[in-house]
């Protein structure tokens, strides 16, 4: 994971693992497992300059209710796609 993503992911802690990335969300204490594909999606969202990255950064900043909603929608989408194992 690039440092930029880690900086963007305020409140999230990420650790690589055999299957992809373990993600810990300090806000709700939940731990998720992203597979490699899911990790790549997040990485791509963070690496590409422009709206997507800014949106993700805002979402991960989570200082507003709407940001949280965006982030949860993203995670929900990743889960529906089978990119989040749990």
């Amino acid at each position: 994971m690039p440092d930029r993503f880690l900086q963007a992911a305020g409140g999230l802690t990420l650790r690589t693992c055999d299957e992809g990335v373990l993600v810990f969300d300090e806000r709700n204490g939940k731990t998720s497992l992203l597979n490699h594909q899911g990790a790549l999606v997040l990485r791509a969202l963070c690496s590409e300059p422009g709206v997507k990255e800014a949106a993700l950064q805002r979402a991960l900043g989570m200082d507003r209710e709407s940001d949280i909603a965006v982030f949860q929608a993203l995670i929900s989408s990743l889960r529906d796609s089978g990119l989040i194992v749990r």
Partner: protein, 303 residues
Amino acid sequence: MNLENFTASEVSSAVQGGELRLHIGRFILKISSVLPEFERALRQLYAHYPASVTGGAYDYDIDVSPPSFFRRWVRRNSSFHLSGEAPFLPMEVGHAHALFEWGLNWTLGSYAHNFLILHSAVVELHECGVLLAASSGSGKSTLAAELALQGWRLLSDELALIDRDLRLIPCARPISLKNQSIEVIRTRHPTADFGPFARDTHKGTIAHLPAPKSSVARNRETAVPRLIIFPKWTADAVLRLEPVGSGQAALRLIDQSFNYPLLGRQGFERMADLVDAAEAWELEYSSLDDARKTIEQLVREHG
């Protein structure tokens, strides 16, 4: 001095007067009781543990006594008290030592939050710490008992305590065996010395196998986690050993944790470090001999 070095009357007086201190690894327990049955079981199951009978500092204040004065004589039963509070319903007097073990598990799981605590047996061979992580009924304690009786070091049969340096903290205590597991171990090890049986508990018959003396003597030496095994005993199963990815291992261990949610990010980091440091395997077996040989092979290859 160990508990066995004191006379029965010295121990009895200390237990009744609240002066007994029992050292179990890093923990010092103040133990008091007015039940002679409990006191006898304590002397048998904890004979080799460091103890004092003159009071002193302690971590946990545990009393195993009848819930009321009259229950000492009429319809006798026992309650587990931690610092005066009774978190469980009373049980019959003959179950007092089992209640003590359950209560002590609950105490550590509820208060020892400087450690990441997992529901797992922990054993060691050739300086390779092995977690046997599984829920009740998987055969975890039976397997731990078998390994301990075959010369492995026992660190715990129920709780893996992991400190911030990722060391396994020993807390070797009597191994709790249930129902058929008792006969399995007695048949395989006829000279094994069990404590008193607690029959008709809510978990059936419970018997405790004292931790090996050599393990108790090393109850202050930490170990390094090298292997995580998710054991599952299944009747007539052909032995199956499959690797478990570190991410899945972390999720499964989180499910078996007592205090992971409480530790927050620190717990996550420690869990991630653990699954980085130790290879994880799922082991399904029907034969204890096969299981033991398989784990020994893993220790040789990956420890």
